[in-house]
Each structure stands twice: as structure tokens, then as C-alpha cells.
Amino acid sequence: MVSKEVEKFLLKVQKPGRYVGGELNEVIKNKRDVEVRFAFCFPDTYEVGMSHLGMKILYSQFNSVPYIWCERVFAPWIDMEEEMVKRHIPLYALESGDPLSDFDFIGFTLQYELSFSNMLNMLKLGGVPIKTADRTDELKQIVVAGGPCACNPEPIAEFVDIFFIGEGEEVDLEVIELFRECKAQGKTKREFLRLCADIQGVYVPSLYDVDYNSDGTIKSFTPRDGAPAVIHKRVMTDMDSSYYPDNFVVPLVEIVHDRAVQEIFRGCIRGCRFCQAGFIYRPVREKSPDTINAQCHALCENTGYDEVSLSSLSSSDYSQIVPLLEKLTSWTSDEKVSISLPSLRVDGFTDEIMNKIKTVRKSGLTFAPEAGSQRMRDVINKNVQHDELMQTCATAFAGGWTTVKLYFMIGLPTETMDDVADIAHLGQAVVDTYYNTPNHAKGKSVRVTVSASSFVPKPFTPFQWEPQDDIPTLHEKQKHIIESIRSKKIQFNYHDADTSFLEAVFARGDRKLCRVMELACERGFHFDGWADCFSLQKWLALFEECGIDPAFYANRRRSFDEILPWDHIDYGVKKSFLISECQKAYENQTTPHCRLKCSNCGAAKYGRGVCFEKRQNLV
């Protein structure tokens, strides 16, 4: 719902359809009939936020509970923000049009470190004090956050009352239920938060004290009031019975991923050593083909979408991918629905899968070898061989594809300039493969896009102790790739090193960064994930003002025995396993994936998923 005041200037801003709600399947309740009002905030634009699957799941799930009304809030784009501030209009939720400050819960999903500034900015625009300590002790305006960046909550610990660690479907509702009880008993927010901390998967940062050594590293981390010393993540144990929406809000304006999305499994068997998702979502848990098929069908029926995307960290690792595609294609072509299969691995693109996708729509092909040389791919445990990639490309070219996108990373641990040049050489080898494939598309040229992002060391990965290459080194490596490319068929893109640097600072930061974040909010920082707004110079000035050296977080090698800012959080993977993986990386040794051999990472303690599947070689 949009207010008369907002309507007065909506036509002055770009894409006003983002600020009005009113979409098909939007949930409207009477606020007098509900006990808990939850503002689900996505700290980016409508188009980005509406594409996010986690929000769709939790929005539907919360609203399926009669006493909760969950609404959506997105960051207004800069032109809209300017108009709203000028006219003193607080940030509002799309469903009711009510300001953020009216809500019991204000929840953020943290997908990206550079959206932290948007989170604080949204609180500010919504008329909510950004710091936990400055908010009311009444039971309202409880700021909660979850998502992958919650795995190191420390840089934003002073702003968030509750972090959800791990998967949200169960723990969120337990917290809301506790809120309801506490409210009935007239408890204060402080009392409520203390009780919350006893729920598994809940981290209340205000219940912990941090002490530092003189060199700036952490000396101790101490719980108060009997709060748990270690916070354990939550996992859904049975994916088939986990809540999944049969309905999405269908946006009126075009969004980034404008299609139905069907999750097929959580976690990843591979264990690529740079990949945070590959560790924090362990163990791999699959949905059955029948569940997926039924959920896909319901989604398409209820939304009118003619495209459904199968979502996971690595689609071709789904153990029953071919039977699943067979089930899906039995109705999709009649109903004119197409299936897209993102996140395909180089070694997972078989003729069979190709023909199934091809029956509906020929989308672009994207593979992520991640590194150019075989040695480097072994270091990161990518487990992809040069010949496999060439074989896969040959299959695709024979099948009529003429464009391939290849994703790489630069700045990986132990990387040399020769490894970097091999990125260009691999691109060239793909071009050569095209012309050596006898039945490639007639009369057409090949296009290979090579993209290189900069490695950002992340918590809970074997590389969490690694320094990031400094910006001049990253620039040098980018330049080296450009100079090593010989063919006009190769297009090279690279990711801005400045943003990767800031990402690295916040990814592994501690509570001392809260002061920087607070100042950033005061100075009006927002949309740092967007080139339109991001300025490293401005951030460096803030760091200097706070007396903080960002290189301490991004470019310093940490020792295995240093207390890391996120050490009190347990994602199921043992630290000793991460250390051994890191050491194996230095020796160019790979680790087999979960289906080949259990490497005893620790995730088996959840008692479910791939850890308990029968392995083929054991039959």
C-alpha cells in the first residue's frame, strides 16, 4: 500500500513500481488481528531482494502462521531516498505502508558484506536507532539478522539484537513464539534476549564481552549471565518435510531473477577450499525428485511463471538429476515451461543433461574452473581436470552452443604469475577446442568470456587464515591476464579490486569495526555493493579517523592458534579439519568429495544427509 504523501512524488523517481507493493500473491492481513509484526528487510534494491529465495521461503512461512504478519522492506534507490528524506517520510513496509519503527521484529538477511551499510541506513531511514544500546527496552523494534554473512556477526554486533546462525525455518519461529510468551508476561527486551540465547542457533552479541591483546588480536571472548560459550548452527534435517512455499509474490516490475526457483538440495559435496557456502551448509541434504517435481508444478501453477530454475550450489551433483529432469520434462513442454539448470559443474555436463535442457530453451553456458593451472585447481580442491573441461566444451559445441562463460579467481593462496597467465591459456584452449570440434555450429564464430574476480578469504573455510593479495598485486595480476590473451574471441572481464578489499575487511572483521560502521551510517554511506556509490577512498578516510588499519583484517596472515572473531560459532565443521585442509592446499593435495570418501569434517554429527548415504564404492 502506498500513502497519498508518497504518491505525490512517486512519478519523479526511477521505476516507481518498486515502492508500491500490490503484487499478485502479496499477503495482506489486518494488523489488529495479528500479534507479531515482522518486517523482512533486504538490504538492497527491490529487484535484487525479490530475487532472493530465502526471503520467499520465510515470507510465506511466517505468513502461514495466523498470528504473524510478515511484510517486505527494500532499500530505496538513491533518488527515492533523497525524496523521502526531503519530505520526512520514513522507510515503510510495502504491504501496510507502515514505518519500520512500528514493527516488533525488523529482520535483515545478510548476503554480502557490502550491504552492511544499507542495513544501518535502512534502520536510520525507518526511524529506528541503529545501536542496540540506544533502542527501547520495551518488547518492540527487535533487530534480527541471518544469512551467510551472519557467520561472522562481529563487525555489526553492536547493531543487531539477535543473529540467527544456520538455517532459519525452525529457529525464527521458535524466537517469535518466545516473544509472544514474553510479551504476555510483560517481560522487558533484555529479559527476552537472555531467554532467546538458550535457543540453539541464536546468538545475542550483547551477552558477550571481548578483550583484545596489545597487537589488536582477540585475547578472550566471555559470555555473561550464563549465555552459552559456543553457539551451534541450526540445520533442517529432512528437506522433504521442510517448509517450501507453493506460491511466490509475483513482482509487477522486472527483477533480476524473474522466474520460479526450486531448491533441490542444500550444501555441497565438493569442499572447494575458498568456498564458504561449501562448508557452512554441510552436510548435503537432498530433496526427493517427487517432492521437487510437485513443488515445481505448484509454483508454476500459482505464479504463472514459464521458467523454473533448479537451485543448489552445484546442480549436476544432485544424485538423481536425470530421473528428476525426466519427471519435469514430462509436463513442462506441454505447459510451455522451461527449466534452467544453473551452477553446472564442468564434469557434470553430460549429453543426457544437455539434451534435456535443450528441449526447452538454449540458455548460455557458464562454467567455473576458478583457476587456470592444474596445480592451482588442486590447491583450491576444485577437482576439475583440464581434459574434462575441454571434453565438456566439445560436447556443448557439438550440441550447437557457441558461447561459453568461464569464471576464475585471482589472488588465491600460493598463486604465481604463471598460474595467472594460465587463465588466459585456458580460455585459448577453449577457443581451439571449438575449431577442433568437427560438428560445431556452421559458419558461426565462438565467443569465450573469461571473468576474473579477486579472492576474498572467508570465515569457516580452510583459507580463513590467509592474507588477501593487496590491491596493487591484484591489479598487476589483472594486467598480466590481459597481456596473455592472444585471441579476439576471448572477452575478458574482471572484478573491481577495491570492493574485494573492503569485502575482505568486513568478512573477517571484529567488533572494533562497529565504530567504522556507525560512522559510515552517520555520513550517509549506502549501496556500497554498487559502483554508483562505492568509494574506497571514503572508506579509507573513515578507517583512519577511527585509528583502524584495514590491512590488519584483509592482508595479514593469521596463525592457526589465534582466536578468530568467529571462533565462538560452530557450523559443524571442525577447526582441526579446516587446518588440515589448509595444509594439504600448500602441498597441492586434493581431498575427495563427500560421496567418494568421508573426510571426517565433523558435519556427520547432525545425523543426516550425505554422511549417511550409501557410497557406491562401499556397496
Binding site: 502506498v2 505525490k8 512517486l10 512519478l11 516507481p16 513500481g17 515502492y19 508500491v20 507493493g21 500490490g22 503484487e23 499478485l24 509475483v250 509487477l252 516490475v253 522486472e254 524473474d258 501453477e301 500459482n302 505464479t303 504463472g304 511463471y305 514459464d306 510451455k336 522451461s338 530453451r361 538454449k362
Partner: protein
Amino acid sequence: MKNVRIWFKKDFECRYISHLDLNRTMLRALHKSKIPIWHTEGFNPHPFATFPLPLSLGFRGVNECMDVRLEDDDYSFEEISKKLNACLPRGIRVFNVTEAVMKAGKVAFASFTIHLSLDNKPSGLICQQLNDLLEQDSILIEKKSKKGMKTVDIKPGIKSYSVTEKFDSACLEIVLSAGSSDNVNPNLIISALEQKTGAEYNVDVTRNDLYNSDMEPFR
């Protein structure tokens, strides 16, 4: 196969979506409704729908139309209304389905109701300003074209108009040239007015009806 014209209103939240977004929303609703509409036969089949005259972002439309081809000649028009409304957002409501009597290209005029107001200014003043503008022999505006800016006279595109003073706004009823050749968008009149007076108005535009070159209602 039968050509069918679907009549609808576009208002509330849906007032703020562009023609491209409307197109996407309609195609999705047609797909969801499972009404037997002819689909394009390309590699990526989708329901085929055309709009005789697109509506600008921000305008309310009370008598808008979209043409589709029905594969089943006996399919009930009432059923189309009912099914489509169940699949559309609340800001778009189908109220009638007819055969397409006139060709889409026959649209030559469109009528609009435009409310203009200024915070803390009497509506009588705005009426005066409107009359002053519209009485001119020519109304020249700068228009962007492929070869840079170009000056165009929009006066010949104004078929008729009337200005009435309302309690909180000035109300302009106007009929303008419409269609693919000499289209005059009411936004041009508003920007001509704003250029002349230097004020920035609160504007509310509703498109009422479409007409052919003989001013017969488009059917």
C-alpha cells in the same frame, strides 16, 4: 482462431508500472489462466498479445485494451474475464471481453482527464494558467529526437479541451491525437505548462477512451 479484445482498467499500484511491465504481467496472467490463447511458435513459445495503444507509466487507464488470438472459437468471453481476473494483481481488472471490431491501427484520438494542483495555490489560478497556455496559436515544446533536440508544435494535436475549477484541483478534459503517427502525450502539455509558469504541479492523469479518425469510440 478468433481475434479477441480484452478490456481492462489499470489503476492503484499498477498505475506505476511501465508498458513493458504491463506486457509481462499480462503474459504471465494469460499463462497462469490456461485460457486457450495462441502462442508464438518460436523456440521460446509465449502467449501472443498486442496492445492497440500503450499507456504511459503513471497514468490511470479506465478503458484499456489488449488483443489476443483465441484458439477455441467457442470459448466463453465471460470465462476469460473471470479466469484472467483471478490471475492478475488487484490493480488490473478485466471488465469486458469483445470481438476486435476495428483494426488496432485505427486508433486516432484519445481522451484524458487531468487533475493539476499546487500546494497552497488556489485551483482557479491553475485554470487560468491552463487556459492561457491552450489558447495560444501554437504550443512549442522541445522534444528529444534521434538528431538531438527538436522543436515541435503540439497545438495541432489538440482536438478539443475544457477546463473546470474543482475544489482542490484544476480539471482539464482533453482529446489528443493518438496512434503511431501523430501521438501527443499529455505529459507534453504538462511540461509546456511547467516551462511557461515555472511551477511544478501535482498531476493525476486518467486516460478515458480511444477513438478512430471519425471520433467514433474504438471498439
